[in-house]
Symmetry: C2
Amino acid sequence: MLAAVEDRDKTEENVSEKIHRLQSNSSQLMVDDEQLQLAAAYVSDAQYNRNIQFETSPQAIRFYKLYNHWSTQGITYFFILVDLFLALFEDPAVYLLPVWVTSVVEFICLLMFTLRLFHFSKITPTKVFWRDAKNICVIVSILLTLMDMIVYLTLRETGYFAVRWSRVLRPLFCVNFTESRQLRRAFRNIRNTLPEITYVFVLFMFSVAVFSLMALKLFAKRKLSTVEGALYFSNYLDIFFDLYVLVTTANSPDVMMPAYEVSWAYSIFFVIFIIVNTYVFMSLFLAVVYNDYKKHLKNEVRKLVYMKHRKMIEAFNLLKITYGTEFIVPDSRWRQLVKLVAPEIPSSQRELLWRVSDDEQKGFVGRESFIRLADLLNIQVVQMKERTHPLEKCMPNMYNCTVSQFIQRIVKHQGFRYTYDVIIVINAIFIGGDETNPLISKAEWVFLTLYLIEILLKLFVYEPRAFFAKSQFWNWFDSLIIVAALMGTIVNAALKSSGGYSSQQVLDIVFILRVLRLIRIIDSFQRFRVLLNTLVNLIPTMLTYAGLVVVVYYIFAIIGMEAFKGRIQFYGANSSDPAAKYCGNPALKGSQFAALRYCRNNFNNIVSAFILLIELTVVNQWHVLAAGFVKVTHLTARIFFVIFHIMVVIILINIFIAFVLEAFFVEHSLARSAVETAVEKKIQELGMGDCVDYPAGNLVEVMETNENDLGNTNDTDLKSKLRFKIASIRYKTVDALLQHMFEEELNPEDEIPTFEEIDNLSPDDYVPKQPTFDSIA
Amino acid sequence: MLAAVEDRDKTEENVSEKIHRLQSNSSQLMVDDEQLQLAAAYVSDAQYNRNIQFETSPQAIRFYKLYNHWSTQGITYFFILVDLFLALFEDPAVYLLPVWVTSVVEFICLLMFTLRLFHFSKITPTKVFWRDAKNICVIVSILLTLMDMIVYLTLRETGYFAVRWSRVLRPLFCVNFTESRQLRRAFRNIRNTLPEITYVFVLFMFSVAVFSLMALKLFAKRKLSTVEGALYFSNYLDIFFDLYVLVTTANSPDVMMPAYEVSWAYSIFFVIFIIVNTYVFMSLFLAVVYNDYKKHLKNEVRKLVYMKHRKMIEAFNLLKITYGTEFIVPDSRWRQLVKLVAPEIPSSQRELLWRVSDDEQKGFVGRESFIRLADLLNIQVVQMKERTHPLEKCMPNMYNCTVSQFIQRIVKHQGFRYTYDVIIVINAIFIGGDETNPLISKAEWVFLTLYLIEILLKLFVYEPRAFFAKSQFWNWFDSLIIVAALMGTIVNAALKSSGGYSSQQVLDIVFILRVLRLIRIIDSFQRFRVLLNTLVNLIPTMLTYAGLVVVVYYIFAIIGMEAFKGRIQFYGANSSDPAAKYCGNPALKGSQFAALRYCRNNFNNIVSAFILLIELTVVNQWHVLAAGFVKVTHLTARIFFVIFHIMVVIILINIFIAFVLEAFFVEHSLARSAVETAVEKKIQELGMGDCVDYPAGNLVEVMETNENDLGNTNDTDLKSKLRFKIASIRYKTVDALLQHMFEEELNPEDEIPTFEEIDNLSPDDYVPKQPTFDSIA
């Protein structure tokens, strides 16, 4: 940087002259289209953090553009979903379809996957393609599935028993296609975290084993009995299982009571057990998972950042021209590039980005500025257009008359909001009442009308496009809820008046919509709005974890269905069938499972299986659920349930908590990233900020005619016509949040490694800062 | 620092001369005793992080020394414990004592507390004393307790009903005496964290309320029934409570089953409820608590560090003399001071500390070096003394003969350890067997003998004082367990042979000891040893939290005992009394509480109360326990149990987890503090490190004669005779760990504020580093 400044000082006199020459000699500046396309592909990859190495031939780049197009990506996602949802229609099914139908659909899915992979192989160098584990994984999965389908269909036709075991492979498609970067990264992190967890887990198991041995020595000889009348703590393996369940707290305090009844001193054993295993070891698990996960995540993000820089450098090298002793990219090329990469950005905003990049108005950008482009493109700049209300356009006299002005003043007044807050509270009381009361059902119409009037008034006062802007979450929420409730209520009333028949489903939805309306009151309290925003911002990251959980659930559900289908039957809520008392399986007679009416918790179709797995994730009573299946299938069930518990509760949930914690801290501590700050500074510098008061008027027309692509508007033009602001701090992608988390800890002066070096980075390469002696004294 | 170096360069020629003059002119260097005592008080405060402002008169300092003496502190702790344990002997009591006995004891306790406070008032300036909330708190508590005792005794004598409500104040003594710094800090942090938590809590409660309203609308009209036959989700308040319990997962999946049986679609409601409230909100609680707690803790530690520096500066100002343009403390004064502050440090080690302080061997220390003394004194330097084995001393011929040498070689061999690992595993199998089998009971004697032989052999080979050094945790553990098991087994055998009578208690203890022995196998695996060390290092910090929990439990136990004593009765494990079936309270007939035999979970004495509160902390089945008391005492119980849940589970447990996480990260990431590194460097520099091979020989005698206080040993002396190493990274105090956590983030160049300024620091004064633009590009 310093060198560049000195350089500039020396050549100050002939800069403007040189720029003039550069701009006039535009034919020399025109980069050939192929190179531009390639550079655009690099920049686009950097912007969206795609970690793909592609071939640089023009054809491959065209293919690559198609590969990243939303339509081909959408088709892939669609077929992945179809493949996953097939489980609804295969035995054990929710709605059973003939085998040939599901087989054909699955075959089509596999075909699409193969096509997608083939497409990918055309883009990436052959060596890279075959070295990539995820491609191999997809190919193997496709082959295995095909094999399994053939074997299954043959066996079925000849009347043999057959298992469609390859269905567990389906989630792998979901993980291994290039689109699911976040999901794959999450899985890779879990895999990397496993060794460290294993040590803690072994120590934890050893601790439970030692306690179990103590319990055996203390209680076995006393021949106590449990509430169910069974012998208490009589067998080492049972004790071990019971104490493992106690770690999850699911059988506390029942497991302690028989001993506690004999002497309070025995409770000390259980208290120490819980402190050591539940509190200390489980916290330690969280700590280890958190620590390791962060370490590996940091490495992943480091790779991402390096990859981004590397791709930007490649793009820079394609577009650069020599200028004195430096390499630069002139503004014309930069504009061509941005237009190609992000055609959706209006010219005015592109101009703003250019101003941020070319901070000193030199007419070109250097390497560092160019690299920053990837981050710049990711910043959501909202261009604030002052639009005229459509009513004012159509009938300006009426819209500006005294009555109208008066209404506008009222609606914009604080009191208007407070009035509606009060109405919502009153509404809440009415909702709580009995809806068969005619007064209350009439009141509902009154409330609906009041809410409708509110929305209409607001639409009268505020410009509709501004009112329904993307960032206006609450306006969207309100309007959707009210319109849906209105429609529901009308449909319900129509059904009722037509035949006295009222659909329960419609009513249920109407009721829920009515209650949801109450949520709006949160918006009235600044403090809660902030909290809610934090929560909303966490949603995208949480969705990655939802994906992770669904993948794991799906695998367990398929295995569970194959192992336990039909073993436990549900006969309906009020069945008079005597078998309903023991879930249709005599082994469950007198069991707690049957007594608690858990029959519907079974693996008889994928929906039931998912609900059961969610119950197991919540942990409580999981030992009762497990015991039910253990009675039916013995060891299989016990192994299945314990492995599920370890995988989901000990590992996945802890990672989830770790991620929420980390994301929350980032949300809380860093309001804006450095790049965002730079853009904002520039906006203020150019006097186009939000806070500047500008005359309300018909700017819209000027704006709209200006929406062409001439680009080179001059300074005063820009200043007079546009207002920008940075959108609320919301991360477009999970990647952005992740990078924001760790970017500051990475050393920006590091040499950017090559593609191959990036691939082989390990977390141990990264040395954290050591405390220095001076920092103390 | 730079200025100092230049200064030194200039005066290079006359430094040695000057030092000579300083040392010869020792009468001028002798500081008067009063000043030295005052300086020592400051340094001692800084070393132990005492946050006390004391008067500087010689008498006050003598008083202050007495105040900090272990004996007066011990007496205070003793009477606090007596006061707390009184609850065992007061109605409802474990062993009921006459009221006059407990009253007299309590009166004595109060007297001691008053004395202690009076003592403190003599030390601290009157203005500071009366401005300190904790002194006021103690005075008010003492007065209220006295009043309550008088009223209670009077009312009792006249036959009226009276409640000893002031017993809830007892834990305040535990918190508010100056000794319980950590406990008080933890409470202060919780209090500071509360406002932020409150917002999240209100939002969370609002969320539960909205879901409850939905549930009411969805399910009330369906008239479903629960497993117990009660009407399902019929009343808003009951729904709210049930859903609050569902957040704690205690009634999952039971609360869902009736709705789920009707339609699987209803389970969506519960799944969304659990995701939002249990997973997201509870993680958010942890995040908010963690974040806020860290913020306030940082402020506390900042105060601590400032206070330490301030006190060291005060001490420096007392001892300094002018030397050129600087103020310095000459080595003679420094040595006098250290001798006074830490008389237990041997002269050789003091010499090492001096070398670290006076890094450049100038014969004096400057201000910065002097301030570091407080940290230096806290470092545990282990002086490695090569001692001769006592047997070698007594009979050197025998000890060094071939057989003895052979034994020594065997014991030191790896195979010896492996052999015993195998023995432990075999032992584990035998322990698992039935001990009434004569083979197994005989085998036990064999194992005991084997273990004894192991210890004796090790004592023969290794020097006993080295074997039982403080840091040799496993040797202590082994020996204690084996000796105790031996004694227990002998007692048991004696009892058995004397009258065929075998005490169950003795046997229980012997069994536990036998099993505990197995733990030693962990020590054989490096990886587990590291993990275990981490856990052991966390214990001191966890104990602070144990103190916190005991205080909160005590208050709830006292309130619970007053509210619920005698309402639920326990009739013994196998009582034939018909009332035992419903815990002696007809209201509990047919309740789940009675059916699950929970009668012993009551508030009939403080031990039962504590166990019940622990069960509630574990959360599972807490709604059943609560329901039992609700049946008996209605609203009181519900309020009591919910408040307990909020206080302990939502706040305390989250803070505990936050602290374990933070402590684990510190343990994991920072092996040594900067000061420790400096000491270690100096040790290496002086060639006194652990890794240097030195001839084994009779160094002990030299060492021991050298253990005088002459101090001024020269370099070669030091080098030839001593070996040091830094003790394993274990924090002497919780404070040290805390400071280690945050010290690096504090700016060391900050101006150290005065005592008054330190008192008024707030967390918002502390501005975290902002990301800069350059760190990205």
